[in-house]
Amino acid sequence: MQTSSDTGTIRLPIGSDVDLAWVRQQVRQVAAELGFGLVQQTKLVTAVSELARNTLIHGGGGQVEMTALYRGPARGLRLAFTDSGPGIRDIDQAMTDGYTTGSGLGMGLSGAKRLVQEFSIDSSPGQGTTITVAAWATGLPHPRAEAG
């Protein structure tokens, strides 16, 4: 069940809109190498763009750690976005469609969650925020199913 190793972890800074573009490019490249199809790549990169922007705008910048996942024949990608900003006071509220504290449409977190298979938030006021997501290249059985 566990990932075999963390050998492929790449750490990228998120400090500007240029960094956002770079993170998107890196994620797309790695996802393509792992066998993600075009629609899957697009969904994942879009989710990454939302989350990285969240890190930049609401967290005051931070970083993302990208790790390739290998579970049997399945290939996936885990991304952990970390900032040391003010944290999220009410996670349920932050995850609501249309709720926004910034200038966006309030679709960032809730929308990003719909675009990936695994999503978790670790945050408390004053403690910063880590949002971890994972997506799997389909065409292969999902990891929740028993290996065939």
């Binding site: 240029v18 770079w22 998107r24 490019q25 790549q41 697009t42 469609d97 966006g104 809730s110 675009l115």
Partner: protein, 142 residues
């Protein structure tokens, strides 16, 4: 001609005009600041020249996230307030699928499949200018 993508801080998205239509081509990675600059450039052009239509070709755009979606919707809204109509052309299938799942259906935006249809939609594609070549190729204008 510099390519507005990748790495280095690319400057601005060009805003060329074809008659009374602005014909904007977005490609590859668009930084947030470039998108916001584009919004300002378009409204300024509408204010200072007889522009009645805006075509934004996004066939070269890999992703539209909620930020870019908001900018595109705002460009259309502000253009409309200034009596110009905006048409979004050439959204890729993967982008459309992702936008729906993201929850961003951009209801205020008029969309067509390609630039030629966008010009038809705006009514000043080929009709206003008879001797114009059969197909207005946006790439030639950049």
């Amino acid at each position: 001609m510099t390519e507005p993508r990748r790495g280095a801080h690319a400057s601005r998205v060009p805003v060329p005009a074809l008659g009374e239509t602005l014909l904007i081509t977005l490609q590859g990675e668009l930084h947030d600041s470039m998108a916001e600059q584009l919004q300002q450039d378009i409204t300024r052009r509408i204010a200072h020249s007889p522009v009645t239509g805006v075509v934004i070709d996004i066939s070269g755009v890999d992703i539209v996230d909620s930020f870019l979606g908001r900018v595109l919707a705002e460009i259309a809204s502000s253009a409309r307030l200034m009596a110009a109509r905006t048409v979004l052309a050439g959204m890729r299938p993967a982008v459309a699928i992702t936008l729906v799942e993201l929850g961003l259906t951009l209801p205020g935006l008029d969309t067509v499949l390609d630039v030629e249809r966008a010009l038809d939609r705006l009514g000043h594609g080929l009709s206003t200018d008879p001797p114009h070549p059969r197909r207005a190729h946006h790439a030639d204008l950049l």
